[in-house]
Amino acid sequence: MIQVEGLTKDYGLRRAIEDLTFNVNKGEIVGFLGPNGAGKTTTMRILSGYMPPTAGKAVVAGYDIIEQSLEARQKIGYLPETVPLYPDMTVFDYLKFMADLRHIPEAEEKVDDVLELVHMEERSDGYIGNLSKGMRQRVGLAQALIHEPEVLILDEPTIGLDPAQIHEVRNLIREIGKERTVLLSTHILSEAQQVCNRVLIINKGRIVVEDSPEDLQARLAGGRRIAVRIAGDSKDLDHLISSIPGVSRIIEVFNDGVDFEVEPGEDVRPEVARKLVTSGYDLLELKPVGFSLEEIFLQLTQEQDAQFEESKEEQIELEEENSEEEKSEEVNEEKEG
C-alpha cells in the first residue's frame, strides 16, 4: 500500500530525512517511532502529498505521490500534527466542507456516519472553537476518515489527550486498522506496542530498526533478562545469584528480589530455583522479562548517536562547518517541534 524508496528531504542545508526505504502492506498498522525532530513529520508530509521530496520516490495506494499526486491524495486520509480545524465553523459544516472537497456523494449522511464513528454526533452543531482538545483531535480524525481512504496517515494522533481519550483513540485506530492501512507516528513507545503490527524506528532521518514490537523486544533482550521475587528480605541475594554459572550480571536489586541478565543460550532458571530454595529463600516468582521498548529505544538511538559522534571526530577539519550545521539543525528542530 505504501512503498517508499530512497526518500530524502533537505531543508536548505539541513537534511531532514535520508534515504528512507520501507513498505507498508495492506491492512497493516505501522508505527513510525522516533524522538522529536527525527523526521517523522517530514516523511508523513511527503507521503500525504503536502510537499515533494528532494530525492527518492513514494507510491501510495498504487499512485506515485509526485506524478499522480491528485489520485494519491484521493486515497489518503491525513491527520497532521497540529489538527487543522476552522474554529469558526461548526463540526458538521467543517466535515461537510471536507466531504465536498473530496466529491463524496450524499455527503451529509457520510458526515453523520463518521461523526458516529468518532462519537461526536452530539456536538455536530457546536462550533469547533468551543471544543476540548480531545474532541478536536476526534474531529481531525473524522476529517481523515470521511472519504473511507485506503491509507491513513496519522501524525501523533494521541498527543495532548488525557488517558481516557488516548485509550479511546487507540481503540479507534485499531478498529480502523482492521480494514485499512495505517501509518502512525508517535514518540510514545507503549503506544506503538499496543496499536501497531510493525514498528519503524527512525532517528536523525534514518531508519534504525524495522520489526514487530514483540520481535523487536525479543531480538534485543532475547529473553535474557530474568526477574526473581522472594518473600522477605533480599539481603545477599545478588551475591548468591551472581555466583551461579551462566549469570552474566545483576541488573537491578529490589527489596523483594533481583533482576539479572544471563549469557545467551543458557537457561539457568532450574539452577537458580534450586540454589534459592536450598539457601532458605522463599521463592515467589522466577520469570524472564524483556527490556521495555523504552530501554531498547534509548539503546538504539544512543548507539546511533555514538556513531554519529565518531564520524564527526574523524572530520576535525570540518569542525566549524559541522557546528554551524548543528546550530541550524537546532533552530529547525525547534521550529518543527
Partner: protein
C-alpha cells in the same frame, strides 16, 4: 472546477459569520450614505441634477481601503491555523484553491456592490427625467472590474504572509502604487509616461468607464490584472510546498 465553488462558498458563508465583514459593509454604506445625502442637499441648493457619479466616485475610494480588509484573511489565516496543510493534501489543485478564495471574496464584494444599487434607485426617483442609465451601467461595470482586480491582488498578497496585518498594509501599498503611478508621468518623458499611464488603475477608469465610455481595452486591462495576480498567487502557494 467544483472545488473552486466548494471553497468559494465556504468563504462566502464565513463572511456572514464574522463581525468584521458586517463592519466593513456597514461602514461602506454609512460613508456612501452620508456623501450621497450631502450631494443631494448641495444639488437642491445649486439647482442641478446629480448623476450616478455621486455614488460611484466615493465608492471607488472606499473600495481601496475596504478590499484589503476583506482579502487579508483569505490565505494568511489558512497558514496560521495550519489548515493550508489540509487543503494542500486534499485532492485540490493549487489554482483551484487560489481561484476559489478569490471567488469567495469577490462574491462578497459583489453583494455589497449590489446593495449600493439602492442609491441610484433613490436618485432615479429624485431627479427628473431620471438618471442616465448608460452612465449607471458603465460605472457599475467599472466597479465590478476594479473589484475583481483588487480582490485578486489581495488574494495574491495574502498568500505571501501568515500575518494578516502585514497582508493588509502590503495590499494597501500595492493598491496605492497602482492607483497613483501615473502621477509622475509628466516627469519621465513620452514613452515612460505612456507606460505609467497604461499600468495606472485610475487611468482606465476615470477617463472612460466613469464617464460612460465602455472601451474593450479597459475591460481587458482589469481582467489581465486579475488573471496575473491569481497566477502569482498560485505560484506562491506552490512554492510553499518546496520550502
Amino acid at each position: 472546477m467544483r472545488n473552486v465553488f466548494t471553497i468559494a462558498s465556504r468563504e462566502y458563508k464565513l463572511y456572514f459569520a464574522t463581525p468584521a465583514a458586517y463592519m466593513i459593509a456597514a461602514m461602506t454604506f454609512l460613508i456612501i450614505g452620508i456623501i450621497f445625502y450631502a450631494n443631494i442637499n448641495y444639488a437642491l441648493v445649486q439647482q442641478f441634477a446629480p448623476t450616478v457619479e455621486i455614488v460611484i466616485g466615493p465608492f471607488i475610494t472606499i473600495l481601496i481601503f475596504a478590499t484589503p480588509a476583506i482579502t487579508m484573511r483569505l490565505l494568511a489565516e489558512e497558514q496560521r491555523l495550519g489548515t493550508l496543510e489540509l487543503l494542500l493534501t486534499a485532492p485540490v489543485r493549487d489554482w483551484e484553491l487560489v481561484v476559489g478564495k478569490w471567488l469567495g471574496g469577490f462574491s462578497f464584494m459583489l453583494t455589497i456592490i449590489a446593495i449600493t444599487l439602492l442609491y441610484p434607485l433613490v436618485l432615479n426617483r429624485l431627479v427628473d427625467p431620471g438618471i442616465d442609465q448608460g452612465l449607471l451601467v458603465s460605472g457599475y461595470l467599472g466597479l465590478v472590474l476594479i473589484t475583481a482586480a483588487l480582490i485578486a491582488i489581495g488574494v495574491m498578497v495574502s498568500s505571501f504572509f501568515s500575518n494578516q496585518i502585514a497582508v493588509f498594509f502590503a495590499t494597501l501599498g500595492i493598491y496605492m502604487v497602482l492607483w497613483l503611478i501615473s502621477t509622475p508621468a509628466q516627469a519621465v518623458g513620452a514613452t515612460g509616461a505612456e507606460l505609467l499611464k497604461y499600468i495606472d488603475f485610475a487611468e482606465h477608469f476615470y477617463n472612460t468607464l466613469y464617464i460612460g465610455i465602455i472601451d474593450l481595452s479597459d475591460i481587458i486591462y482589469y481582467l489581465s490584472i486579475t488573471a496575473l495576480a491569481l497566477f502569482f498567487g498560485t505560484m506562491s502557494v506552490e512554492t510553499r510546498r518546496w520550502r
